[in-house]
Amino acid sequence: MAVSCLTRALRSLSLSRPVLVSSQAAPQPKLGALVSSGAGQWRGFLTTASLEQNRTYWKQREKYSIRPMGMKKTGGRDHTGRVRTHGIGGGHKQKYRMIDFQRLRYEAPDGGRPFEEKVVEVRYDPCRSADIALVAGGNRKRWIIATETMQAGNIIKTSGVIGRMAVSANEGDAYPLGALPVGTLVNNLEVQPGRGAEYIRAAGTSGVLLRKVNGTAIVQLPSKQQVQVLETCMVTVGRVSNVDHNKRVIGKAGRNRWLGIRPSSGLWQRKGGWAGRKIKPLPPMKSYVNRPSISAA
């Protein structure tokens, strides 16, 4: 069948007259919608297999595993193959370790009680600025973002219970926001309960629990933006590890290249309204709490 496609397409090649390829090519979906417009314009046909190198198959694994897995670098290219983000490419090879951002994940499906885990190892992760910790509890091991003073051998607690009194939390423990006293430094904040931590994960960052207002809590993010979330959202206490990350000196262009950062374009471009220091008031507080509105009734 492929041979007949090929011969049919080759037969349609003709330099003298415009080619009516569409009628012949219609039943073969592989050749695509060939457009015959103008004189002598010829579409080539595919002689290679479809390009699978842009596919992110390495990311599609559903089962959790602590084994580091090989990553494919994109170089800033998207699924079409064009550069979507400039300045990315090269750099040392990295292996991806699956991090469990949902701290309150019970091992047994019917578990509902607070549990403890032991920190086995704290190590460097090439994929992020923070360090990661291998914790083991019950029958499973998982990677989590390490906090500032986490060391091998520590016991960390995860609890989903909100008591009447605020808990005096140790660093590295995870509690819902409603259980923590106001003013604690927190990290790995999730904005919807059960969604997994998406905020305050970078090295050395921490948010501050500002106040608790009937069923919701207000947290200040490292960018001074304030966020209102439900009080059942899980959060880890303390600052994220690798605190001196922002004080590091790159030192040379080569180190940036090892990190996968390619040089920016050297062309002088007139800076627009986006450049320069801006002094403006804080944006209003962002609320992730969905309350049923009165108009819906």
Binding site: G32, Q41, L46, T48, L51, T80, E116, G137, N139, K141
Partner: protein, 410 residues
């Protein structure tokens, strides 16, 4: 040819060889097939009977065809729930590739054992008495090491896997020559690649040791008891070390399809039924590399498995709080330079509860046989730090090796 130039095309099926082309735009995304609505009770008219496609009629759905004959070339095993040996209660299996998180402590809890560091005292005295059996014993050992590390290959130096195995076999051969009578030698034999299986209950869980462990030396006579009765009864007071919050079943393979069997690996009429010493070599496969603590735990578990399988065969599978004759099994592990010696004594098969008599284990970890065996000398700043050849030979390791070998025979 794949993505050409500045005007790269959509990958899908288009190739064009011109640099400027107005129709290098994206094609519409492929249309998803329309969703089929299932209305129960409605009889669907299909074109199956007409044997050709008719627009407007539904596509016939046929039941999946399954072979009515057995074809071993295309066999798909049934899911776990449908297998004959499927059981609701899971079993935790320790196999030769398991790397336990807590190492020896976890193995001690699983096997209800008291761990003592250092070899038992009378084995040490036996080791010292073997000091100068033959005058050139240490020279013979050094020759054995040199053969394994330097002379065994046509390349510059042999691989770790090769030299550790050669060293072990050389040392075994040496011990056999140093044995006083040949009749004692005839009561021993080496066996390799036998499959061990041992099952026991601990608490509410079922555990198994399965797999092919290293080299085994079996003998016609059982090893004598290593410690006295009063020491055995003193183990009642020993409290097993727990490691909360980690569960003791971590890292063990959890299976639902298993068979509760106890098998020493040999048939009943085997002439050398008693397991004497197990010899373990470190695996060089990077995926299954074990840390030293995990390697010792593996030695421990397999020594225990051998002892337990033997006990089940002799005394039956019913748990017994004190065996009439405790079963002793020895184990030696090596990576070519560093040796780990282990003596395990099985006193009880009643492993259900934490209280009662415990088993005992003596562990001598990280005994070096020699410091360096370099093919080329290590030179720093034009000074020789480590000379080429064998350096830093220590006789103690071989003495212990020989003591474990001759234990129960001399």
């Amino acid at each position: 040819m794949l993505i050409s130039g500045r005007r790269g095309c959509l990958l899908q099926a288009r190739r064009h060889l011109a640099l400027t082309c107005p129709s290098a735009a994206k094609i519409a995304p492929p249309r998803r097939p329309r969703e089929k609505v299932e209305i129960p009770g409605l009889e669907v008219i299909t074109y199956g009977e007409r044997m050709h496609y008719v627009p407007g009629l539904a596509k016939p759905v046929y039941p999946p065809w399954e072979k009515d004959y057995k074809d071993p070339g295309y066999y798909k095993s049934p899911p776990a729930q449908e297998m004959a040996l499927y059981k609701q209660k899971p079993c935790y299996v320790f196999n030769q590739r398991t790397s336990m998180l807590e190492g020896v402590r976890q193995a001690a809890w699983l096997t209800k054992t008291q761990v003592n560091s250092g070899l038992p005292p009378h084995l040490l005295t036996l080791a010292e008495s073997l000091e100068s059996r033959v005058e050139d014993q240490s020279e013979r050992v050094q020759n054995a090491i040199k053969h394994a590390r330097f002379w065994d290959t046509t390349e510059s130096r042999p691989d770790k896997e090769k030299y550790s195995k050669t060293l072990l076999l050389n040392l075994l051969h040496l011990c056999a020559t140093l044995q006083s009578s040949s009749s004692a030698q005839r009561r021993r034999i080496l066996a390799e690649n036998y499959s061990l299986a041992a099952t026991w209950r601990r608490g509410e869980d079922l555990f198994q040791v399965r797999g092919q462990n290293g080299l085994l030396q079996c003998s016609m006579d059982a090893l004598p008891q290593v410690c006295e009765e009063k020491d055995i009864s003193a183990t009642v007071d020993h409290v097993l070390e727990t490691f909360y919050p980690v569960s003791p079943t971590i890292d063990l393979q959890k299976v639902n399809v298993y068979k509760e069997m106890n098998c020493t690996g040999f048939r009943d009429d085997y002439l050398y039924p008693h397991a004497h010493t197990l010899y373990f070599l470190e695996s060089t496969d990077p995926q299954w590399k074990l840390k030293p603590d995990q390697f010792r735990a593996k030695m421990f578990m397999f020594a225990f498995g051998n002892a337990l399988a033997r006990a089940h065969k002799l005394y039956g599978t019913e748990p017994q709080s004190l065996l009439q004759r405790p079963i002793t099994v020895q184990a030696v592990g090596s990576n070519g330079r560093i040796f780990q010696f282990l003596v395990f004594q099985l006193n009880t098969t009643d492993l259900d509860q934490d209280e009662g008599i415990k088993n005992q284990m003596w562990l001598d970890a990280d005994v070096e046989l020699y410091d360096f065996a370099k093919v080329r000398p290590l030179v720093k700043k034009k000074q020789v730090k480590v000379p080429a050849g064998l350096s830093g030979y220590k006789a103690e390791a071989f003495r212990k090796f020989l003591a474990l070998y001759l234990h129960g025979a001399a």
